[in-house]
């Protein structure tokens, strides 16, 4: 099996194991963005696990900070810190807080957890890159429910106003938030037309779990001359674990020991 697929599978297993161990955390939204992060960290981004704060590095901001287990599993797989640390998710004294802390975890570029704030910070990072005439890119991952936050659109307006073509946002369009389907709770649709109206390049990815589709979208995004780009990815919340898939109930709770075993068996199959 190809390297990226294999890496994604290992990351999924780590997500399930660590949230199971902690008996708390957010499996659904972690599993839905695995391919996006795997591609970014193992193919796209210029990052150095030996020098996590290198000035010229590409940046990544997890605006949907509750998917911290995904970011931690990816950073550990990349070698930013030892994989054993993953066992300490959400434990007292651990570097792996419930939501990412940039001062505790090597490789985390921004502390997040309060929805909407990550894209705002990412916009500032992209502007900083422009001021310093650097050519790094800033990637940011948003939830589709997160798009309901007004701050997202304040940032979106600023990013196009300042022509931040170095800013590339992903929307994990898994169709669910905590209280149910996003169109039932508070519809953010149409997502593409909204971003277009805010002056962004919009790329739709039919299957956000397909590396080829994601790769093509990023290639186009990187060529943008004067606009930020959003890549809206259709995904499955809880992807890879049958009982979690498309189920809002698995947004923010840990699987029990038996469920962990079942999930791991499915992921290994």
């Amino acid at each position: 099996m190809a390297f990226l697929e294999e890496t994604a599978r290992e990351i999924r297993k780590d997500i399930v194991k660590m949230i199971g161990k902690a008996s708390s955390g957010h499996p659904g939204g972690s599993l839905s963005s695995v391919e996006i992060l795997t591609l970014l960290y193992f193919e796209e981004m210029n990052v150095d696990e030996k020098n996590p704060r290198a000035e010229d590095r590409d940046r990544f901001v997890l605006s949907k900070g509750h998917a911290a287990p995904l970011l931690y599993a990816t950073l550990a797989a990349k070698g930013f810190f030892p994989k054993e640390e993953l066992q300490n998710l959400r434990q007292l004294g651990s570097i792996l807080q419930g939501h990412p802390d940039m001062n505790k975890v090597p490789g985390v570029d921004m502390s997040t957890g309060s929805l909407g704030q990550g894209i705002s910070a990412a916009t500032g990072m992209a502007l900083g890159g422009k001021i310093d005439k650097k050519d790094y890119k800033v990637y940011v991952l948003l939830g589709d429910g997160e798009l309901e936050e007004g701050l997202v659109w304040e940032a979106a307006m600023a990013a196009s106003h300042y022509r931040l073509n170095n800013l590339i946002a992903f929307v994990d369009n898994n169709n669910l938030q905590i209280d149910g389907a996003i169109c039932d709770v508070m519809s953010p649709y149409p997502i593409d037309a909204k971003f277009e109206a805010f002056g962004w390049n919009v790329i739709m990815v039919e299957n956000g779990h397909d590396f080829d589709q994601l790769r093509k979208a990023i290639e186009v995004a990187k060529k943008s001359e004067d606009k930020p780009t959003v890549i809206v990815c259709k995904t499955i919340k809880g992807k890879g674990v049958s009982f979690m898939e498309n189920n809002a109930g698995w947004h923010g709770k840990g699987p029990n020991a038996e469920q962990v075993l079942q999930a791991l068996a499915e992921l290994e199959a």
Partner: protein
């Protein structure tokens, strides 16, 4: 063992009861109705429950607008988002025009647990207390939660009710009476007064027992009404016991400790110690070890009591 129940659970359940009596009551939430427990109300009264999505600023703005049409909105989300993200809307759209909005925020303090610092509001009492026209209440248990909701409805204006995530023992019984601006004397004593609020009331009572075993007579006051605060009760306690300890699951800056200190130095300056979060952020962890780590146990109150008594001499 006392019955255990979280104040958020009591809130969700009592909303349903209130809705039968109060026709114009509406409830607003921001995609956290399962956690704030307003989903209990949503199930019974789907027409009067509005989920605005992940949009806390709009939650407060819409509550203000609804209040102008004669509704009595209860607006709920986590304390960090309702008091934090939406702060200026609460100030300018709810408190400045003195609109009849009840802001009931859950997941206050570090007893949020595993979600960590980003989700643990330790500043909300300070933030809400400092706004003119605002009333600030924080119940110690499920029964006080209900009494405070009644009291909040009796007020024509903004009220903040601070609620918690974790289960706490039910310490009051059904005939408990709560009055806005009045403290509750739970235990009389001579040597020191412990003034506690919210989930620190339990540990305060426990601390009084531990002190008694060492021959120290402590009195315990429940200050569920943080604003308006009971100036007379504080003055009386200061004069009688000559030493005050405050206990809260909140920053020691500007919360209950701050409010009591403001009163004390104006009306009856006596030595005082503040048990609370010492101007640092929380972190992820299980609730009991967190409370221990951040110095929020009966033991910590005992230590503060001894220290403050020492300072009397």
């Amino acid at each position: 063992m006392a019955e255990m129940k979280s104040t958020r659970q009591a809130y969700g359940e009592y909303l349903v009861e209130l809705s039968n009596k109060i026709e114009n009551l509406v409830v607003l939430d921001a995609d956290l109705s399962g956690a704030t427990k307003t989903n209990i109300f949503a199930k019974e009264c789907p027409d009067r429950h509005f989920n605005v999505g992940i949009a806390e600023s709009n939650l407060m703005g819409m509550a203000a607008g609804l209040a102008t049409t004669g509704k009595i909105p209860f607006a709920s989300t986590f304390a960090i988002f309702g008091a934090g993200r939406a702060y200026e809307i609460v100030r300018n759209s709810i408190c400045y025009p003195k609109l009849n909005v009840k802001i009931a925020l859950t997941h206050s303090g570090i007893s949020v647990g595993e979600d960590g610092a980003s989700h643990q509001a330790i500043e909300d009492i300070t933030l809400m207390r400092v706004i003119p026209n605002m009333t600030v209440l924080c119940p110690a248990d499920a029964i006080e939660t209900r009494k405070m909701m009644d009291a909040a409805i009796a007020i024509d204006g903004p009220v903040y009710i601070r609620l918690g995530r974790s289960d706490v023992p039910v310490i009051f019984d059904e005939d408990y009476e709560f009055e806005v601006g009045k403290a509750g004397l739970l235990k009389t004593g001579r040597d020191v007064t412990i003034i506690a609020v919210g989930l620190m009331v339990g540990p305060a009572l426990e601390a009084a027992e531990l002190l008694k075993a060492e021959g120290i007579s402590a009195q315990v006051i429940n200050m569920g009404s943080i604003k308006p605060i009971d100036v007379d009760a504080i003055e009386e306690a200061a004069i009688k016991t000559g030493a005050i300890v405050t206990a809260e699951e909140h920053s020691i800056i500007g919360g209950l400790g701050g409010a009591v200190a403001e009163v004390l130095c104006e009306v009856a300056p006596v030595p005082m110690e503040r048990v609370g979060i010492k101007d640092i952020f929380g972190q992820s962890g299980k609730v009991a070890p967190l409370m221990e780590k951040y110095g929020l146990t009966a033991k910590d109150i005992v230590a503060a009591a001894k220290k403050v008594i020492e300072r009397k001499r």
